[in-house]
Symmetry: D2
Subunit: 438 residues, 4 copies
């Protein structure tokens, strides 16, 4: 009952607000999004901020792509920093370097679009609209690099608003409203969810799912992680996704496998939640299920095949011939089904993956993005799993291999420091041996 | 059940986090608040941000006033802007005025304490701690003007976080948890609440109370307004507070009287919510009780007597003699009980109040702060009420008179513009007449 | 978070309870459901009622069909009324007809299984288990008429517990937990829901769904009704179910069509909620959407074809030839697609349906169960809709025709009294005319 | 927001219902409570049950005591069992003793007022009204013993509705709505709560309070227990109630003291919840605070002084002289402050209390009602506490002594059986020794 009424009420208040705006305005008002934004930044905004903000939010929803782009350029040009004012403030500051002048300089350097966004945010749905603006912007930024300042400002603002302290960790299960569950199906980025039955298996008694939410986006997960409760470190993902597998009594599991982590909001790109999420879920699960002793991911190696295909000649201690044999074997698209082939290339392929993860770097950091993320969080590279993901995508990305990154709460900071200060890839001795290729 | 468990869990997670921090740190860690803040701003903060933030929050709670002040100076000096870096960035910008250099300049102008605060906010209770820091700072700023930059930064951050879009309007009534209700008793700033019985009367069927809340401070109202549902414009506050008065069926009321508005958080000083609150409550009540036709305050005139005592000679068109007679009459502390006196001075006193409200200004705005607030919101000065508040405080502030500011949704913007652009005090013709003193 | 913990806690308490039971019992306890029930009815039940009840609930969940039947016979034979005691009480009453003896007679006539059920209900899940027992019993009663007394007792008890005053009307929408939504898919009895997409369309902005819930069965709807918000009285159901149809702004609808009502709990058979549900939903929708002026069902005529196929010769004023022509036409399974046929038989078929609904009765009540239900509720037979349901089932049951029963709040009681006292079928003049077949 | 709207809606629906009733009724309706009840039991009740039930509930609220009594007699006389029908059914049953006739006999023995109550319960507030009817009845039954059948019927119905399985255990703390907290103040029956400050101390961090609620009476606790978390078995109640005592960190407590249990609803007299409450709270606290090892009451001995004052001559092994000395000493109203007196009578008084608790019985059960309750629950009589309650009431009831009843989950059933089967008072050896008076 309640929701319907309250939202109706809300609409009627907002409608009233807009009627009043129109009636109240002696002169005619502009109803373009840019016009309303201008009003919102002036004194009319002080009196009728909520109604104007609502109008901006509604108008944004009606724009086509060209108009959206036009609006972004409005943000860039018309409500950006005023260069003349900046110059004057710089000069004043250089003339007299006091706190007052420094404050003034900082003030003119903040583009008015930041205040505009804060006012748009007054409206119900304001935060969602701003996230949507950034999502659109992110998708256009390559072709429109002159929007970079706008992007920086939106990111800065959203980063402040989506501070970890404002996020809520929620467990997602079969009691969660459908409006949220369907978002999981939409946003799952690692192992596609193929419908409600598939989803249900992932929320069964021996599975867990956690997500971060922000109070202003109650129906939108920001990031979520899917966990399988198992016995022993899982080595392959297909059995975890299989509908037919027996369900395990969660009190009998000793290991939690994080087999999928998905960021949901393109509009929050570059604002990192994953670090917090994994650690908090580890703590949460430890409290829920004291029998859990091990926490590990089962992760893809998304950059491996791309890197491997570009190698030329020997790799590490592996001879050119041996490398070539592996490459050749992989050309057969059904290679993984052929026991003769797999018997032959398992060892060198695992060595190559270990080598790639341990030694291939870019700017002193691992080349592989997933590795970078987990090692940066303080996890340890634990095990390479032969044919852990034989989906089309798994074969294409990493010749079907998967990796476990192991989270040991007591080693997290130590590992993190070794990674940051000493550029060290913390790995199990097994992986270290493999990487030696000897 | 639930709360107890969840908060226990939370504590145990945080405790675990801190144990791990200590065990994890190869070298010994500093446990002063400044030391932990330094950690929080470096790479250790990246790995263990949540646990460090929690430690800062806990440590803040243990500081005495001297230590708090010391911490504020740490914020001012050690994590303020780096003047050398600013100078270099200014020079670079002047050498080449491009976007990149402008961005860099803006970046160095943001003091690291802002990022520090964002990280402290990671912890449960972080927002509350930062609001408490600002509260303490606000109480010290006069004697410590060199903390102004810190104050500006905290205010800027809190202003962004406490954006209207993140606030929730809640109705407060007898079903509200006691932990919130006792805050009303504590925070009521206009007409003191004398205990639970008094509070209960203010939440009875013919009363309403609304407050804004922020999700990160769920037990703390930010601002609240108390409303009486009555027939006709109320002229005096004592009957509204009287326990013995009959309760009115709210469906029979035609007028909502806002008789008290209290800001609750000194730490959010300068961040305005009242404007939004009143308008939204007007909309809310209109929807709840369609029979309500009038929305008005019953407000004090806090600056009147202070101003009046300083006047010298004639006031407006009122002769010096007449003014002197009024002043003399008010010297008797029981003057308001003496019909002969009241008969004599009612007219001139009302004229003086009208004159004060209409014509006494400071920087083109009304001298009276309450008047400034409501006129700035678009309300109209409606009526002066003789002996509307005969409490000790009411007599002292404004010789017992009260004022109604009338909110007419359809005139709000028009009134606001007249106020802002034309410096006009929008008032009823009755008050205009009184102010002429003729 | 919360749910998981609380339910864990709950399980651990119950487990502890059972351990204690076993440790506490000096002598060995029986662990058959019958044995535990015996304990529950004796002093051990007074001390450890909750744990024993929990055990019964768990045991019930493990029984196969034969064991369930055995348990029902245990209820019938071992914890039924004691005939000797009844005889003695009857004699005592006849000897002295006082209140005390009457009370004693009433007491021995209540079978101990009622108290047993009340004790089983102590356990979490107890109510659900008892509803499941009755569901099983209902499915067996035809073959096992000697369980009738058990059925009566369970029904009596459940009828008291599922009193309207304890039910909660809830709106079901896309924000409802999946665990409830999947029940709708399972329980829909009129127009099958073909999956989550179909369900979603039925919960879209121009649809409403309401259900009754009982606090002890929070995930189980007891009965639900699906409503379409439309303009004008809907005449056909397929367009209402069509995914591709445009959605209507609900504020523009003038009519609410109840197109499906489903009882969900076989275990509550014979306990009627539909009457309350429809009236309350009418009131609810009236308040939500003041634009709604008409409330009507779009209902099947489940008994029509069965009756029609059994008619022999003339029907009412319709000649034998004409009737035969209609019957013959319907033999072609695609008759409804053939315009020549439909042109020919529309009129007589509508007349026959009208005749059936108006005049065919059993024990003075309409033969058609849906008609009986709505007329008994005080609705009016409003309109017959040609080819309103051309699904396989619709054609089979009622040659594709549907009926609107119209709910006019102000006529409900009048209609109900006419129906009850005067055995009158309240119908529109159009239907009355059709039924005359002239 | 929500509540206001929903309850408004509810009222408007109910009002509409009543309007319709009046408009709908061809003939004029009776508006006495008895008249409406008659309607409710007939066919009008089938059509308009909800509106009629609402009317009964409202009318009940307007009755004065005489009218209430009149209504109870209406229940007794007019909607009681029909003696003629009973006689006929008895005869039919004796003529042919089959199941059908037994069922019919049982049916006529159920007074129609039971069905009437079930229908009154349709209305919002129906359950509360029925509980209020019973409350009134309970207060009148001594003077009106001819209402006993009505009382039995109401009790039977309420007992079924307030089945343990429908109750919810809630923790009461400072986050609980004020509307519930004020009920604690009202209902506390053992150690009076002297206002909100006193209440707050009882809900502080080292205190717990739990209550049972029924979904149909959401603001009304049925029974509640107050618990102090302490170190070691508490021996006196005044320190537990003292505002000034230091608060204990609950994680450091090893003992939970149940120092007050209060039944709240006179209308539910004779329906026992205490047994369930204590055991569930023990389980709850064990899970919340694993450090708790002991669970014990600190209980009054309400019948001691009454019994003692009636003893004549020797008691057990205690000589007449010694008994007389004790009696004499207690005549001084400040005896407990006089060390000479207390030194002298402590031993014999404790022996007398032990003797009273161990040996004074009525119908083989302990004379003391509190003792009967806890021993019946399976607790053990643990310790007698000298001057444990020196309040006026404590001195009057039990010469200032208090008793600990100890709950050991693992012994509960064993103790209960010893109590029930062997009439044994399970007591610590210390108390057994005392009772020997040697």
């Amino acid at each position: 009952m309640r929701q319907t009424f309250v939202s109706q009420l809300f609409n009627s208040i907002a409608d009233a607000g807009r009627d009043l705006l129109d009636r109240g305005a002696g002169k005619s008002r502009s109803h373009t999004i840019e016009g309303v934004c201008r009003d919102l930044l002036t004194q009319r905004g002080e009196a009728s901020g909520m109604a104007l903000a609502r109008e901006v939010v509604d108008l944004w929803g009606t724009l086509d792509d060209d108009e959206k782009l036009e609006f972004l350029y409005f943000l860039a040009k018309e409500v950006g920093t005023n260069s003349d004012a900046v110059d004057r403030a710089v000069e004043a500051y250089q003339a007299e370097k006091n706190e007052e002048n420094q404050r003034k300089l900082a003030a003119v350097l903040e583009a008015p679009r930041q205040e505009l966004m804060r006012r748009i945010n007054f409206a119900p749905g304001g935060t969602a609209a701003i996230v949507a603006m950034r999502k659109f912007l992110v998708s256009k930024i390559r072709k429109h690099p002159d929007l970079k300042d706008v992007d920086q400002d939106l990111k800065h603002l959203l980063s402040s608003w989506f501070n970890r302290g404002f996020l809520e960790l929620e467990e997602i299960n079969w009691r969660t409203p459908a409006v949220i569950l369907e978002k999981l199906i939409e946003y799952e980025a690692v192992h596609e969810i193929e419908g409600w039955e598939d989803l249900r298996r992932r929320l069964d008694q021996d599975r867990r799912c956690f997500a971060f939410f922000h109070p202003a986006l109650p129906d939108e997960p920001l990031i979520f992680v899917e966990v399988a409760l198992v016995k022993g470190l899982a080595a392959a993902v297909q059995p975890l996704l299989d509908q037919e597998e027996d369900r395990l009594d969660p009190r009998k599991a000793d290991t939690a496998i994080f087999y999928s982590i998905s960021n949901c909001q393109d509009g929050l790109k570059g604002i990192s939640f994953g670090n917090f999420l994994i650690k908090q879920v580890v703590a949460e699960l430890s409290a829920q299920l004291p029998n859990l002793k091990h926490f590990s991911t089962l992760s893809p190696i998304p950059g491996f095949m791309k890197w491997f295909s570009k190698t030329d000649g020997a790799v590490g201690n592996m001879s050119e011939d041996r490398v070539r044999d592996v490459k050749k074997a992989l050309l057969d698209k059904d290679w993984f089904k052929d026991e003769k082939i797999t018997a032959k290339i398992q060892e060198p392929l695992e060595q190559l993956v270990a080598y790639y993860l341990m030694h291939e770097k870019s700017r002193e950091r691992p080349l592989d993005p997933v590795s970078r993320f987990h090692l940066g969080n303080g996890a340890r590279l634990e095990r390479i799993n032969w044919l852990g993901d034989i989906s089309k995508n798994g074969l294409k990305q990493s010749s079907g291999l998967l990796v476990n990154y192991y989270y040991s709460l007591k080693d997290i900071e130590k590992n993190h420091e070794a990674y940051v200060n000493d550029k060290k890839v913390v790995a199990s001795s097994a992986i270290q041996s493999l990487a030696k290729m000897s």
